[in-house]
């Protein structure tokens, strides 16, 4: 019986995890840039929700799109001014650049928001529901449902909109896309901005579950890494599979070994996946 | 003549697609074999399979009696199978000399870097690129890069040398030079397999022709027989033209 509860806990986190990782995966897959700012983007989104709620009383579910848009603007301008300049440089350069940018942003957040851990405490709290013997905290269920909805929205955007098709075209063949009239520079900035939007909105949602501080941006960045590698890089489906997988890994390791093992085991799995099956569980690449 | 390299019923599939389909052939010491076939026939795949880059999914490859099917590419190179690439693959920021020396050092049995560079100098002379010995390889023209590829392979002191489209992109005069060079290499005792999609180019120097089509071996024999083979004509010209050309002389 305990397993049912543990599985439910894992799945309930999975949707949120998918939303945390999908923007990271998009940027990596399309631009071939590992965005080490992603964790700080998430935290910044969470702060938007925190202040919107504590100062203005706006519910995090409503401020999520606003947080997304703020991050979208930041992402768009960062890509346009800085990241695009090294987008064809070797991995080492792009990684180091985003690391440097993250040091800047994270330090700025530390100065602005202090290192204290904060959390959105909803008043009144959402409570829990019981499904047979399983307890489901409603806040987590709602967050995961909204996160999945957002992720699905991104999927439809990529599949059905002109913008989405242009992004996919760049992912497949940058030169050919340019020849077909796609404004590559603009679309690259859009891709990065959409990745930042997803980070900001997901951060906003998770502010009611997790305590946040500039110090734990690295935790969420780490989760995004694990999800992308385990699920399979470069597809929305991969992020969802990886998100649920990470949720399950975390709740199962907590049950078997204790919660302190969740991080080392998920990272050990990441290394194992890279070594043995670098394409991830879904086993294919691309945002087709 | 003894069989130096034996390919026994090998296949190679990529995601369900059969790029090489149950091919058997052998290469004998001292031959110059022309391996031909239309684009996409599987010629380069066969070379990749022999050299261990993409090992066979079925069948066996033997070299001097030893099973090399599953050997690592660098081991196969050390044993004496060298190749050039269709798309030339120099180390762009290394000098021409060091490019060649790499072959001598890692597969050619040169005992030291100095010995390897010494050997590189001789080979650079042999293929006439010694004037650019200290230049970065990236600065070479295509024709010279092809010769650099050749020198790199020769530095490995191979027993068999696969030349993958060494003539592609060269003008007629350069092709003549290249063919002369190939004959000279053959005379030095190295067995050669020339991969070409243009039959004309290899006809003049090959002692035997092997034809691949859709991953299958469709002809293997002396050049004069192979060029008259109906299936070969069909593969190259398409069915209708092949029939037409057969009717015409009749």
């Amino acid at each position: 019986m305990i397993y049912l509860q543990v599985l439910a806990n894992g799945v309930v986190l999975g949707g949120l995890y998918a939303a945390i990782a999908v923007g990271f995966s998009l940027v990596w897959g399309v631009l071939n840039v590992i965005n080490l700012l992603h964790g700080s983007f998430i935290i910044l989104g969470a702060y938007v929700a925190f202040f919107a709620y504590s100062l203005l009383g706006v519910h995090p579910f409503l401020s999520a799109p606003i947080a997304g848009l703020i991050l979208f603007a930041i992402g768009y301008s960062l890509q346009g001014t800085v990241i695009n300049r090294v987008i064809h440089a070797p991995v080492l350069m792009t990684l180091t650049l985003t690391f440097g940018l993250d040091l800047l942003l994270n330090n700025a957040m530390l100065l602005a928001f202090k290192a204290d851990y904060r959390k959105v405490v909803l008043d009144p709290p959402l409570g829990s529901i019981f499904v047979g013997p399983i307890v489901l905290p409603l806040d987590r269920v709602a967050v995961t449902a909204l996160a999945l909805l957002m992720t699905y929205g991104l999927y439809r955007l990529l599949r059905d909109s002109k913008l989405g098709r242009a992004i996919i075209a760049i992912r497949m063949d940058r030169e050919a896309a340019a020849l077909m009239g796609v404004n590559v520079l603009r679309m690259q900035a859009m891709t990065f901005a959409i990745g930042a939007f997803m980070a900001g909105a997901a951060g906003s949602l998770l502010s009611i579950i997790y305590p946040i501080s500039p110090l734990n941006s690295i935790t969420f960045l780490g989760k995004a890494f694990v999800i992308c590698v385990i699920g399979g890089l470069g597809s929305v489906g991969g992020a969802i599979v990886g998100g649920v997988a990470l949720g399950l890994i975390e709740s199962l390791t907590a049950l078997w070994f204790g919660p302190e093992y969740a991080v080392p085991i998920s990272f050990a799995l990441l290394v194992a996946f890279l070594a043995i099956r670098p394409t991830g569980l879904l086993g294919r690449r691309g945002y087709e | 003549m003894s069989a130096l390299l034996q390919i026994e019923r090998v296949s190679r599939t990529f995601k369900g697609l059969r790029a090489i389909d149950d091919v058997s052939l052998s290469i004998n010491t001292g031959e110059i074999v022309g391996l031909i076939g239309p684009n996409g026939a599987g010629k380069t795949t066969l070379v990749n399979l022999v050299t261990g880059m993409h090992p066979a999914t079925a069948g066996r490859v033997r070299f001097m009696g030893q099973d090399i099917t599953r050997l690592a590419p660098n081991r196969i190179a050390e044993l004496g199978i060298a190749r050039t690439f269709q798309v030339v693959q120099p180390f762009p920021r290394m000098s021409v000399g060091d490019n060649i020396a790499a072959g001598a050092l890692f597969a050619g049995g040169a005992g030291s870097l100095t010995a390897a560079r010494q050997r590189a100098r001789e080979l650079a002379q042999q293929v006439a690129i010694d004037d650019l010995f200290d230049q970065p390889a990236a600065t070479l023209t295509l024709a010279r890069r092809k010769r650099l590829e050749l020198a790199k392979s020769l530095a490995m002191t191979p027993k068999v040398l696969f030349l993958d489209e060494v003539n592609a992109g060269l003008n007629p005069a350069e092709i003549d030079d290249a063919l002369r060079l190939i004959s000279k290499i053959s005379q030095s005792g190295i067995t050669i397999v020339v991969i070409e999609h243009l039959m004309k180019v290899v006809l003049s120097i090959s002692t035997r022709l092997i034809v691949l089509h859709h991953g299958q071996l469709i002809a293997d024999g002396p050049p004069q027989d192979v060029v008259r083979d109906a299936r070969v004509a069909e593969a190259y010209l398409g069915k209708r033209y092949a029939e037409a050309s057969r009717r015409a002389p009749a």
């Binding site: 590992i34 800085v82 300049r85 090294v86 440089a89 070797p90 991995v91 080492l92 350069m93 990684l95 180091t96 650049l97 690391f99 440097g100 940018l101 993250d102 040091l103 800047l104 942003l105 994270n106 330090n107 700025a108 530390l110 100065l111 690295i218 780490g222 890494f225 302190e260 093992y261 080392p264 990272f267 990441l270 290394v271 890279l274 070594a275 670098p278 | 050299t51 880059m53 690592a72 590419p73 660098n74 081991r75 190179a77 050390e78 190749r83 690439f85 693959q89 120099p90 180390f91 762009p92 290394m94 060091d98 020396a101 790499a102 072959g103 050092l105 890692f106 597969a107 050619g108 870097l113």
Partner: protein, 306 residues
């Protein structure tokens, strides 16, 4: 030009030893440590072209291995060396598993190593003290005597690392790594045993940071996971090498000196924003000087000729 830079650095070190007092001794020790880390990273990252972020894992492993060995009674210097060997063995094993990965995938796998090892150290608190950290046996002698002793140890290590790096650069290993860096497939086809050479490079990039970790632990008397597995320990060496010039012999040493100078200046004047300033420096470096400071030095005489 190159010799001048080296002589200036050496002279500065000597001056520090003679006149500088404890602050300068500390700086010189950190410089030797940074140079060791940068020279080591350059073997895998610069020569072989594999963007490793594992330096912090090797360093941290070295600190904990030698600290635990010392507390179980092993003499200090032996513990340092054994710590290096443990880090190297770890690198060799992991290297065989992850060195077939390219680009981002390798970078991430190496980054994840740091997290895994750090968390394992955190969890095994009976052995490591967990998040509380670990105290090391107190060394004898006055403050200055100790400072001189550890500077000597770290400088000796840096020198050995430099000599090893020089031997690698001139030898068959360095030649193989350059081939791998420029075109790995072609290198393998030429008979280069890429698996072996990459594992050797990765192992070499671990052994010296492992020993440096041991010396560092003895020097500061106290270690904890967030300090010795700090991801900055992986990134700083890489930035130093980028400053000095990828794949060059003395570039990492010059880079370490420049980086340390900037870091000290920043630390002293902008304590609360030092991470941001470091970040800005990194961004500026990547955007404006991707080939390192040495590229300016190389460009200047050419401009003079023209």
């Amino acid at each position: 030009m190159r010799m001048v830079v080296i002589l200036v650095i050496l002279a500065a070190c000597l001056a520090a030893l003679v006149f500088g007092g404890n602050y300068a001794l500390r700086l010189a020790t950190i410089f030797a440590m940074y140079a060791t880390l940068a020279l080591s990273w350059n073997i895998i990252g610069g020569l072989a072209g594999y963007p490793s972020f594992a330096t912090a894992a090797f360093f941290g492993l070295g600190t904990y291995a030698s600290a635990i060995l010392q507390s179980s009674g092993m003499p200090m210097v032996f513990a340092w060396l054994l710590g290096g060997i443990i880090a190297a063995g770890f690198a060799a094993l992991i290297g065989l598993a992850i060195l077939h990965l390219k680009g981002h995938y390798f970078a991430i796998a190496s980054l994840a190593l740091v997290e895994v090892v750090r968390e394992l150290v955190n969890i095994n608190d009976r052995l490591t003290g967990g998040g509380m950290g670990l105290n090391l046996p107190i060394t004898h002698g006055s403050v200055t005597q100790q400072a001189v002793y550890f500077l000597g140890a770290m400088a000796t290590l840096a020198l050995i690392t430099l000599l090893s790096a020089a031997a690698v650069q001139r030898g068959k290993l360095g030649f193989a790594l350059r081939c791998i860096q420029q075109n790995e497939d072609a290198a393998v086809m030429l008979g280069v045993n890429a698996r072996l050479y990459k594992a050797a490079a990765f192992t070499l990039s671990a052994v010296f940071p492992g020993i440096a970790g041991g010396i560092y632990a003895s020097w500061v008397h106290y270690i904890d996971p967030s300090d010795v597995f700090d991801i900055l320990l992986s990134v700083k060496p890489l930035v130093m090498v980028l400053v000095g010039g990828l794949g060059t012999l003395f570039g990492p040493v010059v880079g370490a000196a420049v980086f340390l100078g900037l870091e000290e200046a920043v630390w002293r004047s902008f304590l609360t924003v030092h991470a941001a300033v470091l970040g800005a420096l990194i961004v500026a470096l990547i955007l404006f000087l991707p080939n390192g400071l040495m590229s300016i030095a190389r460009r200047l005489p050419k401009a003079g000729q023209a």
